[in-house]
Each structure stands twice: as structure tokens, then as C-alpha cells.
Assembly symmetry: D2
Homo-oligomer: 474 residues x 4
């Protein structure tokens, strides 16, 4: 028997984090915990909460799902009216705990805790510079780099120290930072990752996605602007600053394609609506005669629906997804065909037998799971498979916080669409065009980062190029 990582059957890019912050509420830790629950899709490997209890920071972090990390005892041990929280993906190894956030340190002016979503393009260079000056690092996260920079600042007050630190950062960051007095929420000037502001009574709440507000019945106020820094004091009162040099906007369009929850409202629009329109564009770009439109559940559900509505072809559910799949599996030694995919998906023969199916997926990375799904659908009797992907081929790595495979592993970086059709052994294959995808968002193209599709990176650093596994000369 061997363990099969859950991600073996994950043929998708992976987001790295979700952040929350609550200020001015007597049960800050409990609200942070509930909010993290609804951001669990943004990171399932570790979770943490740090509270400010009358000026003293205390916290708890561990590996695992939010429900497993936080017991009632743990939450009871974290009183205070201010809290920040974090969910993250992480890499493997015994030492992984050290990377679980929020990072939380003492420095000359007191304590500071920080939750970070995104990736700096100059993180390694900043780290090297700090190391050269004698700094030590206990994790491999950008977040630790940022608290070093805050501690190094000579600014007289905390907000000034944070701004000093921000001036060194290049790349993607949606962050919540807390000291003994205030909470600061800040979003990089490109606005790569989402960050929203809400209210619950007199308290203010900050979260990666608006769905985190709904679970605690908080009111969505607005998104935090690219380059905006919001200071929230212990009573929940807020102040808005724009301390950073403005630049072009570069929202990660992949949040719309795959990451964000459909009920969230980000970049000025409801995610489900955008995904539905992506499916409609797909239907218009590549019409086909078929008996049903079906998604690879659950992330492609809405796009498939849009595709069905636009094409007039019946929407149906040809694959069942098992939601009880745990972190690891024990696999029999005797090989089972398509084992990884089979655990997670099962075709519904009654729906599929003899049918011509339009199969909608939102994106494809390695393509291995997709190939297994195609085979399972064939065995369930599907007569024709028309694959439709609601985003263009992913050809380039992301430097802003999305964990993509190397270029060699990106199936679309080396194969043409026609070759991919052969690879997947399907009757037809169409990827949504870049323009179609952007049109579905309702926003102008220049507001987005489309680098993983077109290689045009809004912000780069020498270290990106040096990164040996990437080759950007295309």
C-alpha cells in the first residue's frame, strides 16, 4: 500500500493563502475562525490566528484544516478584541510548521503579527540583503522578510514603519498586519490579489474574499483599493491612506477563472456572474452539436452552466465528486486503473451512455487527471467528447503567488491545441480566447494580469529570470 497525496488528482494551479482581520469585536478570534472556514478553499495545509488582547499578542498556528487546528479550548485561550488569521498551502517536509502564518514576532517597538497573501518578486533579493546585514530567518516565507523590514524602519510610529517596509516590496501582497495598538490592511498597488473591507456592528473586518463576511453576517463595504492602506484601531474605527506610488492595475484574472468562491464579490463583480459569462463566450467561440454540457465538478460548474445556457444544449451532471476524500489515500498495491481520479470522480453512466458530451473545465495544468477523466467517461459510454476550457492555455509561470508547475510540466506550454486534442483523445478541444475571457469579466483588458497566458509580467525582478526552472524567452 502507498499513500497518494490528495493533490495527485489535482490538475490545477494552487493559490497560496487567505487572510482575515477583525478589529473592535469582543469575540475577535471566533469570528476570525469562522471567516477562515469560508476561505478554506484558498489554503488547506495550515491555519493560524493571532489576537491582540489589551495590547498583548498571543496566537495559535498548526498544520491542518481550520476545523482540525482550532478546538474550543484553543479559541477560549485567545481572548481579545482584535485578531488576524491565515490559511495556507505549504510545501512538504517535517519542518513545514514553521511556515504556517500569521508570522508573529517581537521587535524594538513591541510585537507585530502579519498575514500575507501573494508573492513578492524581489523576496529572495530582500532576504539576501537582510541576511547580508546579519538577519536570521526561521521560515521560508515572504512574510518573515516583511516583518524584518518593519523592524528595520526608523519611522517614529507603526504605520510609518509599515509604509517604510512596503516601499521595499515588489510584487503581490494583500496583507493584514497587527501590533499592540492597531491593525493595518494593505493591498499592493497592482491589486493582484483581492482584499475586501466589511463591517459587523461597530467592528471592521478585512478578508481575502467577501464570502468570509457572509458567514459571520458582516456587511460588505467595499474592496480595499490597489495601493490603499487602511488603519483600523481597537474600537474598529478606520482611516484610509494611499502611501505608495500608483501604477497600473493588474488583477489576477485567475481569481475569476478558478480560485475565488463563486459567491464572492471581487474586482467589482460577482465571481459566479463572470464565470457564467466565460461559459457563454466559450459556447459562442466553439459551437458544437451535442446532447449535453457537463462540468468537471465543482470548479467548472458555473462556466458549464453558462456554456449550456448560451448553446441551448442541456446541462447535466455526468461526474459525481466525492467530497469525503481526505488528505491522503491508501492505495492497493495491485494497480487500479486511473486510481487518483477515480477516488475523486465517478461518471454517471445513466446520464452519459450514448451521449455526445461537451465537457467544461476551467483550466488545465499537467493534464494527467483530465486524461483519466476522459477515459472514465469513454468507459461510461460517452460517444463524443468535446472539451471546452473556460480560459486560454496556461503557458507561463506565475510570480505573484500561484503555484504552477514548471514550463516543462505545463502541458500547454509545449503542445499546440491540436496536439493537445490528440493528447486528450477527444473529438474537439477549445480553449477560451484571451479576449473572450477578458470580455466575460466586463472590465478592460489592461486592468488584469494575464501573464500566465501571454507572458506579459506587470512587474519583474532579476531574481525571476534567474529562477532556473523558468525560461521566459518564448
Amino acid at each position: 500500500m502507498t499513500n497518494v497525496d490528495r493533490n495527485i488528482s489535482c490538475d490545477k494551479p494552487r493559490e497560496h493563502c487567505g487572510v482575515v482581520g477583525i478589529a473592535g469585536h469582543p469575540e475577535a478570534a471566533t469570528l476570525a475562525y469562522l471567516s477562515l472556514y469560508s476561505l478554506q478553499h484558498r489554503g488547506q495545509e495550515g491555519a493560524g490566528i493571532v489576537v491582540n488582547n489589551e495590547g498583548i499578542l498571543d496566537g495559535y498556528r498548526d498544520i491542518g484544516l481550520v476545523a482540525d487546528v482550532f478546538s474550543e479550548d484553543v479559541l477560549n485561550s485567545l481572548p481579545g478584541s482584535m485578531a488576524i488569521g491565515h490559511v495556507r498551502y505549504s510545501t512538504h517536509g517535517t519542518s513545514v510548521l514553521k511556515n504556517v502564518q500569521p508570522v508573529w514576532v517581537d521587535y524594538a517597538r513591541g510585537s507585530v503579527a502579519l498575514s500575507h497573501n501573494g508573492n513578492l518578486v524581489n523576496g529572495s533579493r530582500l532576504r539576501a540583503g537582510l541576511s547580508a546585514e546579519g538577519s536570521i530567518f526561521q521560515s521560508t516565507t515572504d512574510s518573515e522578510v516583511i516583518v524584518h523590514l518593519i523592524a528595520k524602519s526608523h519611522a517614529p510610529d507603526f504605520v510609518g514603519q509599515v509604509i517604510d517596509a512596503l516601499n521595499h516590496l515588489r510584487g503581490a501582497y494583500s496583507m493584514v498586519i497587527m501590533n499592540s495598538d492597531v491593525m493595518v490592511a494593505v493591498r499592493d498597488p497592482f491589486g493582484f490579489r483581492p482584499l475586501a473591507l466589511g463591517r459587523i456592528g461597530d467592528a471592521h473586518v478585512v478578508a481575502s474574499e467577501s464570502c468570509a463576511f457572509d458567514v459571520i453576517d458582516a456587511e460588505f463595504i467595499r474592496e480595499i483599493e490597489p495601493g490603499e492602506l487602511i488603519v483600523i484601531d481597537k474600537d474598529g474605527d478606520i482611516q484610509s491612506l494611499f502611501p505608495l506610488r500608483q501604477t497600473r492595475c493588474a488583477h489576477c484574472i485567475f481569481e475569476y477563472v478558478y480560485f475565488a468562491r463563486p459567491d464572492s464579490f471581487i474586482f467589482g463583480e460577482n465571481v459566479a456572474n463572470v464565470r457564467h459569462r466565460m461559459g457563454q463566450e466559450l459556447a459562442r467561440e466553439a459551437p458544437v452539436e451535442a446532447d449535453l454540457v457537463m462540468p468537471v465538478p465543482d470548479s467548472a460548474n458555473v462556466a458549464a452552466l453558462g456554456c449550456a445556457h448560451e448553446s441551448g444544449i442541456k446541462y447535466d451532471m455526468g461526474l459525481i465528486r466525492n467530497h469525503y476524500v481526505g488528505r491522503t489515500f491508501i492505495e492497493p498495491e495491485q494497480n487500479i486503473r486511473d486510481f487518483g481520479a477515480r477516488l475523486k470522480y465517478n461518471p454517471v453512466r445513466g446520464v452519459l451512455d450514448g451521449q455526445r458530451a461537451v465537457v467544461v473545465e476551467d483550466s488545465i495544468v499537467r493534464g494527467t487527471t483530465m486524461r483519466k477523466i476522459i477515459k472514465m467517461l469513454r468507459r461510461a459510454g460517452v460517444s463524443e467528447i468535446h472539451m471546452r476550457i473556460s480560459s486560454p492555455p496556461i503557458r507561463y509561470p506565475c510570480f505573484y503567488g500561484i503555484d504552477m508547475p514548471t514550463r516543462e510540466e505545463l502541458v500547454a506550454s509545449t503542445l499546440s491545441v491540436e496536439m493537445l486534442r490528440e493528447f486528450f483523445l477527444v473529438e474537439s478541444l477549445h480553449y477560451l480566447s484571451l479576449d473572450g475571457m477578458v470580455r466575460a469579466t466586463g472590465l478592460p483588458k489592461e486592468r488584469f494580469c494575464l501573464a500566465c497566458f501571454d507572458g506579459n509580467y506587470p512587474v519583474m525582478d532579476r531574481e525571476c529570470l534567474e529562477d532556473e526552472q523558468t525560461c521566459l524567452i518564448h
Copy 2:
């Protein structure tokens, strides 16, 4: 903070069990484990596997999901070519472990282990009779009663002992029983609960639903007949017997309505197909002008789809379900509106705002979660709500293994449909008619048990009437 049980937001009847058996395979325990994974929807409170390793039974049972109960170490400690497994719901309390199956005992002729799905109507009377003769009981399950009866039999061989025991049983049972030599799979003569037979190489597999075969790439052979007893030896060879007095067939129609997984094939038909037709019947019985048809996810997805296809109204997903919801929640002391439902479901305002929605659910028990969902939909801007239930009102208790509330708690047992419409505060409400529901199955009405809808019980026992919380005079 207080704990909120996951079931607070469960407004559904609850099934009690899923069973599997594997004979003739060198990795029997691992295959049983994978099969139980795909039956997890039938019972999430406890799981167990007993193996036969060259005539010696050994096993492991614990409270929790299959993924939590079985580690690689545990499975490695269970070698053998024959295995039976079980997943169950259970009642609360510290002693709940004692009810986790398979039950597994020693008696005069060796060891026997048993996994049971269903409920006996004469279980308490059999238990009382055995007690009167001096028998002791270490659980509150019918399964323990059955192994007592096997042990009391004077039949010369194991199959004879099992048949002797079966002759005492009245009610619902789909069981897998194993001693040191053989495995026996048996289904009560009414065929209340499903039980299917499959093959993987030379080995045979038995499971509550055919989806358990798919995950291990086993081939579905056929359903085990009502009243049929199948003996499988260690090599996987089988023999079929019909040792019990035949009677009318009485399949539980609720397996089609809610319990079974849509990709399973039971009672001669694919579950998804039946549910889709139930949705179509619903659309025909209660047409309405609306902008979208949406399910309460995930159990009503297919029925909603049928309703949409038949009515020509657009299918859409107005509610997001959070699949990361754990067993318990920590709730803030400060009340959050509709907390229980809000944890599990979130409305998609972008889809719902200003829309007239047909909301499809498969069944309603207490109605409390449904009321919370309705309120959330209203706050998300839905202009009209037309509730459609893809089964008739549940008015009577089930004695065959479904955990229903008492009659007083069954919202439909005391209120008329018009009163229910007021209770839910919706523009219209329709329950699928009994005939419509049956028509959707494609089978004749007399093949089903419809007792929870019409009060006509296929088999009763004095003890059912004595059961104080039920009042059958209607």
C-alpha cells in the same frame, strides 16, 4: 462559545448504514476501505473492517470518517483475503463506540462478524426474548441480536445457522456475514435496502451501492435479489440460495429520492436518471413563471436539473455549499442570524438579485434549515420563491432503518401544504405527488415501500405500535 452539531443544519432523514464485503482478494481490507470511502454518504459517524486471515478474524472499528479511522498502519495490520466493512450513523454519548460495526464475536462454532444495513421491526422483541433466556448485550444494535440468533442455532453448518437466524427476523436487512470459512450476503425478502454483487478479477464484492465497485474498478454483476442469500467462499466462488419465504417487494423509494449516490445503480435503474425524472414530474405538476431553477445543493441538484429541463426555465446555482464544514462548529456567543444554515450555504447575490426563483429540494423533515435558507435567499434579493419538493410530504415514521424525527417534529405531518407555504413564507409550494414520484422510477407502485408518505407499512410488529413516540392512527 458553544458547539453546533453538524446535523443542526441537516433538515433531512438520515440513513443508518452502508455495508461492503470482499472475498478472494489478497488485499481485501484495502479494497473494503476504498469501497467504504464511496459509501461514506450512508454513514459518517463510525467505520469498521473485519478481515478473515486464513481462518482467523481480526478487525478495527472506531468513531469518525473512514479517512480518519483507517491509517496505513491499521490497514497493514489487517491482512487476509476476505473482509467485511461498515459505515454508520450513531446516536450521541461517550459510549457510542460500542455500536460501531461490524459486530464481531466468538461462539461455539468459531468466530463470526456481521455488517448490517436496515432495521428490524421485531428487534426489541427478539432482544427481550434472548434476554429472558439469559443473553447479554454489549450494544444497542440489531446486529448483535442477529449474531446471538446465529449462535443459538443448532444447524450443523454456518449457512444453516444463518438461515435459522434469518427465520426470526422481520424488517429490513441487507447484510454481509463472515465466519472463518465463508462470506454470506443476504437481503431481506422485501428488498427494502439495496445490495449489489460485483466482481474484481476472481474475487467477488458485495456493497450497498454500485458506486462502491467503481472506485476499485470492480465490475457490477447484478443486484442481490430480495430474499436471496449468496455464499462466497475464500476463493471468491459463489452460490445462490433463496431460503426465505417470498413476499411482496418493498424497495425504499427514499433511496431514489435522497440517500443513494446519483452514480449508483439500484433497484434496476440509475439513481440520477430517476431523480432527473422526478424533477421533470415536478415541473409538469406545478408549472410556474420564473427566471431560474436552483437546487438546495447537493442532494437536490439532479431533480432541479430535471425540473429546469422540463420547464425550459434556466438552471442556475444560487447557493454555494461549503464542503469543508467539519463535525462541530464553535459558535460565537453573540448570535449570528441563521448561523447553522449560514455555515453550510451561502447565496450568490449576483445570480439571485431581482430574480424569480424555483427552489428545488428533495425532501423536508423539520423545516428549520429550509426556513433559514429562504430568509438568506430573500436577503440576497430574490423577488419570488417557488418551492418545489421532489417527493410528497413525509407524514409517517420509518421502521426500516431511516432515522426520522417523531411525528410532532415532522413539519408535514401536522400542517397542510397551504399552511406549510405560509410557514416557509414562499410565493408557492408544491410537493411531488405520490404517483408522480413513482412514475419517475419507471417501476410499478407495488414494488415500493411508501410508508413514510402514505402510512402503509409492508411489515409491522406489535413493538412498532408500542413505540411511544409514534402514533399511527391518522
Copy 3:
């Protein structure tokens, strides 16, 4: 690396159980838990408590030390004014949980729970008889046999049923039994195992050893007599019966030699006093010229002290025992000399170098650990080793609850004392004589079971003889 069981370095017979019972106290479970703490030396593999909460029994059992099995949450879930508890040794395997006591079942007249210390000589025969009548068994314990017998009784009341059951039992039992009304404490007519009665306020307490009373500040009243049955009701009131045929007294002298805690008072005498006198007898029987007397800690401490006091030779501690040794060890692949013993004991060179040592141990079973200790002492510079064992050679198996190796493994069953001296490579070796040991107790010889030393079994059953690993013809 490989796991080393703690018992690899245990060269001693092993007791099987400790029992407690509390009646008439509002915090019965907590007092039972504390009492079990002080009986932990009698069984370290599993622990359990069953309470009677206003007529309803509930309980919790698990594998592990008392401190690990019972959390505050678990104890809080066990309210009630009556409780029985148990600690046990057990055999290995995944199914070991089923043998953890108290056993706790339902039968015709309600619920009954039972904690048992001792071993029946006719346990297998009783089990076979019950099996022949169709009884089933879920554990391999005598305790389950006894509750079967209680359930089979036709006596009109609970005490009568217990007495009916007792009339079938042959062998050793000190038990606490509880139903919804009363607690019964009973000791077999031979009085093999100890059982004491105490009082805490208005409540009564029963325990294997009086040290269990001390930890909860209960008052020791007296020992329960051989053959006595005490009924304690919910208010703690008691009644004494002698329902069994009287026979000779046969206290297990090994309780004095090794099992019982030195601060306990059993068989009418303080254990430490008896052990001290055993050491004195040893000094008188085998005087030697030496520089120090040292024990193999901790069980031989008191005997060594007696030996030193009598001989006038200085007592010293030449071996340090590591009390942090856990259940299992991870051993390096590269062999370490005397690894098992070395983990637990370390010689004190400063004390030993150049000294002639009298090394006192209470008993020896296999002799393997003792050999390793001798080697370690030699390497630490001891010039002469005079081994003194404060009991005679163990030559025969025990049928009354002590887990001894088979005769072949009993080093003294096949080797003469002179041969043993060679085996251990010591300058001299003396085992305390049977008469010396008995004299140290202050009680007449006929009050003891000395079977493991002299083969005279107070009570036997055909099944003992059939037990293949024992050969009693000597």
C-alpha cells in the same frame, strides 16, 4: 530502527489487574480515577470507568495509562454517585481494546458492569459451556464469562444472580460489580487477590490495595474476607454476606514479594514490613562479607534494606532507574550492548568501583535482564557480586492471574541454583527459602498459595492440565 517493548527489560511476572469501586459520592468517577492512579502499578495497558448516574450506566474505556485515558472532558461526561474502575495488562494486537474493562452489558434485568482481578481455572470450560448453549463472546476475558452467568441466573434479585454466578466460578477473583441499584464487591473463598474496604465521608470505597484509599483521603476500614460478598447501595450503606462454601485460605504470596505497593496494607500486614523482613531472612540465610548491599530498583528496595539492616553491611544505590522510560523505545540499528536494560538502569560507578556488592532482587523469571545488569555492574568496577533473591526460585506456572512465562522460559525451572550462579556469572547466589519467605510474612504457611514455588495448587481444573504449554509432572 526497531521498537523495543518496555517489557523486554521486564524480567518479572506480571499482574493482570487492579479494581476500584465508589458508592455514595457525588464525584464518584473522579475518585475512581484518582484511585486508579495509585493502582497503576497493577496494570498499565488499559483503563476504564463505568458510572451509575441515577440508575443509568455509562462508561469510558481505552488503551493506555490512566492519565492518558481520562481527560477532564471524559470525566465530566461521567456524572453519577457510583462508579467502578479497572486497570489492566493485556496482550498485543489491534483488537486489544475489546478486553479493556470494566465489561459492561445489558441483560434481561437491566445493565451490569464488572471489574475483575484474578483468573478462573475453569474459565475456558465455563466459556465452552456457555458457547454450547449459544452464547456469544466479544472478548477473551473471564469477566465476560461471569456477566453471562449473572444474566443466565433465574434468581429474583441482582445479588441472588451474582451469587448464582459465583457458584460456577473456580479460581481467583476479587471483583466489583454494579447494576442500576447497587454495587457488589466480592472476593473468592481462597482470598487469592487482595480487596479492601474503605470509607470517605458517607461513601464506601473498595479497592485492590489500601494505597488507593490514601490518595483520596479515604479511611481504610478492613479487608474484604475471603468468600465475603459486600453489597453497597447508592447511599453508600453496606451489608455483608458469606454466600459461598468456605475453603482453605490461599493468599498469593507474590503480592508481598513483588506486586503490591509497599505502602499498602494487605493480608493483615503492611507490605513494606513484610518485604523488609524478607530481606532480613535473606541476610540470615546467606551471610557474606561485602562492602555494600544494593537493590535492583525499585521493587527490591525494601528487601535490600532489610538485608542491609540485618547484615550490618552498608545499604547503597548502585543502579539508577530512569522513570521516564515510555511504553516503547526506538532502538538504533547498530547494536548497543545490553540495550534493553541500559535504557532503564544505569550503574553508579562512583558507588560501585572496587566494591563487593550484595545485589538484591525480589524475583527472577527469564533472567535475561538480570544478566545484562550483572554485566553493567562488572563494567562499572564491582569486584564481587553476591546475588540475593528475596523469594524462592519460580518453578511452576500460575493459574490465578499472574502472567508467567512457560516452564521452559522460567530459568529456575530447569537449572539448579548452582547452575544459575554460573548462568549469571556471580560469586554467589542465594534464593530465599520457602520457609524464610513465609516466616517473613508473620502468617502461617497454610494461609498462602505457594504454587509457583512448590507446585501445590489450591484449586485446579482439568483445563489447567490440558493447557499445552505447561507440564506439571515434576
Copy 4:
């Protein structure tokens, strides 16, 4: 019910740490683990190991005993030929994990891990200075300060960086430091804490006490000298340096009195021998007529023995210590007299009744447990109690790594010996004189730090004086 911390019944100063290091052995982590087992008495709250596997550091740390922290899986995940380990006491709170050592960080020149035993007197000032320069701290340990200093050094090689760091440190440190190439073991010039060097085959071992060598069958070579720095490379080869300014020697005499294990060899002498002589001095200084000499087990066992040997009064064991006492207890709400002490100790009435007892303890801090023990002894029938403490009254705080209560809590800092006699309600009380204690060591007085007894601190820092809870003007 309430939790009682194990330390409630600890009336002793508490040591902070034990360290080990292994270089040049293929199973370095497993040997480190076994060594930590034998140093468990130096710290029971947390344990950790960091390995160097071909230049890459990896590690594991957690709260708990060594046996609980390290499973076979964890050790298997830590291959490498070099390892350092640590056991520690720690303060309470949910964030305690962050203080578990070895500390292990990345800096400009690679990775470094450090295990530290002792306490710096200028730790807070160094921390403040580093903070002022912008350094951040993730723990409250001196160890993190030291790795900061290493990282700040501009020395060209690792050993030079360590020496640079050492030049800033004032106070007590016995440390093992490891980077990707070498291991460095270093002891402060005062030699406050012990540190020993051993050999196992070609590998070298470093540990706080020599007992850590015995468990792995390593050979004790010598103690590392005060001020000595030993560099050990991957093959186990060593080099000795004395890079620090020499100063007076100041061994912590409390290591002899209480901390070290009796079988260890430290400061040039076997601990048991020293303790035995302390007991002899005690007997000479305060002779008394009595029936027995008894220790408060286990730490005073050897001193009591010395006292008995010198006085000619019989040594006996009047108190049994329960070694199964876990980390926390659940206490009944209804008060039990002397609960904390009663859990851990039980008097042996048979030994004590009617006796005049000399009760030997090694040291007393608060005196609360001692008072409870005295009461228990009285109730067990002792007729006279003559308390003998094998060290002088503790009157001053320790700044070198011993966790003493504040002066107000030190019972001897405010009460005269006669007043203490009244406080304990004993017939006589004698503390060993300073000269007697020193004489027992066999070393000249000027080689010891006696500050906790006489207030003469070998090295001080302004921050010690500023520490508000201490008042050194006496």
C-alpha cells in the same frame, strides 16, 4: 474539577535545559534521542532534535516528553550523521512551542542550529540592542539572541562567527551549535553548567551529563573545560580552542545538590558520591537520637543514605513516590487534604508508626509541599520529625539558569531557621552549612557559584538589578 499542574507539588528549583550533540555517526538522530531520554530530568516540557544531513539541516521540535515528541516516523524523517538535541522546561501559555529548542535559522552564510543550557545575565540588554538595530524575535529565549549575534558577525568562517558572538555573552552557557559543516560545543568561562565530551566508535558525543553517554554505550572522555570551544567535524574529528578571556571558575553547586543525575560524573566527581558526603556532613553537623533516617524520594535518597551511614541510624523508606503521575491531574471539587503532595507521595504507616524520623530533603523553595508531607507523616504515626536539608537555606535568586521563585516566595529568605522550624512544625530542623556542603564536594570553595546561598554573584549585569522582583541589598 480543576487541573492541577504537576509542578504544584514541586517544591524545588527548576533547571532549564539539557543539551546533546552527536557528530560522525550514521544514526545521529536516534542516538540524540536516546541521550535526551537520559537527560529528561533536566527538562520535561519540550524536546527537539536538528540533524545535518549532508549539509542540509532539518529538525523536529514539540511540547512534551522525549518519548511523546519522537515517534519512529519522526526519527526516520531525520537522517544525517550529525545531530543536536535539547530538552527544556518552559513557561505556560498557548505559544510555548515557539520556545522549544534547538533554535534553527537561516542567515547569510547558511543554516545554524543551537541548543543552549544556562542563562545570560545580559540577555535582555543584548536583545534590546539587537532590537534597536531592527532585529526581530520569535521566541523569548537567549538562544535566539545568540544566533542573531552569530549572523551579525563579519568573521570569515563559522567558528569565527561563533567566537564573535560569544564575546558579547555574559552569564551561563553550555551550548552545542551546528551549521552545515561542523558542530561546535562551548562552555562559558565560569563553567556554570556541566558539559561533557564522549566517544562512540569514531563519532564524538557532547552532553550536559555523562549519564547520556551510558545509555548509548559511549565512552566518557572528559568534561569540556570552562571557556573551551570544541569544533567537531562531520567525521567526528575534534579540535580544541580557548578563545575567551579566562576568569574564575564558578560551577553551580546546585547541580551536585539536586539537578544532576546521581550516576553522572560532573565537575570532576561522581554526583552520588558528593551527595552521600553531604548527607554525612549533615549527620555530623546536627546529630540527633532517632529510629530511622528517611529521604523525601527520589532526589534526597543518596543524601539520606549518607546521613544514615554517618549517624548509624537505620535508613528506611517512609514515603512511596508514585512515578505514574502525569503532567496534569483532575482534582475533585470537594477538597482532599494535601491533595497535591498526596498524589505524588504516600507514607508507609508500617515503617513510620511510633518512630522518631530524621527526614532528609535536598533543598526547599516555597516549603508548601514539605508542610503537606510533614502533615502526612504525622498522620501516619511518626512521633518525632527531625528535618535535615542537605544544602543551606536558599536566600537569593539565580541569574544563571535556575528557575527560583522571587525572594518573597523563597521561604528561607525571610524566615530564620528557628522560625522555619515552627513553620514546618517539626521537632528539629537543620540546613547543611555552606562550608559543610562545599567540603562534601572535595573541591575548593572558590571553584563554585554559591550565589543562591550567599548572594555573591560571579558575574552580574545592570539588568539583573533592574529586574523588579529581586532585591539584592541584604
